[in-house]
């Protein structure tokens, strides 16, 4: 299970039981890395279905399976999608 929660102005990522604290800047970098993963390529025969992703300025490394990547893409998209009322605030 993967979750993101807020913890004293940091983002706490719980990745299958492993917990990591990300600053906003680290979250932006993580978002960029996850968004850059071509999920379609995971379904080609020669792809291992594994992604190795550094985060928190190389302090941590995540090993992601295809389903993790899909879930993370969804979660990160939701974090950065402003609600209608917040657009102009």
């Amino acid at each position: 299970m993967i979750t993101f929660t807020l913890s004293s102005n940091k983002y706490q990522l719980n990745f299958h039981g492993k917990e990591m604290l990300l600053s906003f800047c680290e979250l932006l970098a993580f978002r960029n890395t996850i968004n850059a993963i071509d999920i379609d390529s995971h379904f080609y025969n020669d792809h291992s279905g594994i992604e190795i992703v550094p985060l928190c300025n190389l302090k941590e490394i995540l090993i992601l399976e295809t389903t993790d990547v899909i879930e993370l893409k969804k979660i990160i998209h939701a974090i950065f999608t402003p609600k209608e009322v917040e657009v102009l605030n």
Binding site: L6, Y11, A29
Partner: protein, 170 residues
Amino acid sequence: MENLVRENLSINIKIIDLLNEQIKMEAKASSMYLAMASWCEQHGYDHSAKLFYDQSAEEREHMLKIFKFINDNGGMAYAPEVPKVSHEYESILDLYKTALHEEIQVSKSIQSIFLTCRKEKDVASELFLQWFVNEQLEEEQKMRHAVKIYELHGDDVENLYALDKRISRG
């Protein structure tokens, strides 16, 4: 969670992504103009070479302007990978036509981001891009002027170098 994103970012995340793409485009244009400057120097078009050296520096300035804007507003700008650019052109006219085509692509891209800003109600980015919209009109005009001159008077080989001087006068 969304509020914390807003607290850290002054501009829309979708616009940041598009501006990072624009950085790549400006970097490519800068590199392409450098290649064009080289071609012009090798073929004796010294005034056009100067124009393209200046253009290359200008595109890099545009890139840095966007780069700073992203970072200054809480986002993260990414240093671009520069794709391979051509160093071969059939003629000076072909070269200027390619440059004009590139400027039109950049204009389209800027305008598209501008309209996305409007859609996303990102007023700050829209105002920032207004300068680029005007700047692109000037850039396009510069290249269009050169294309017109070479199309009208460029059949005579002797004439080509005289036209090169004329282009530098704008």
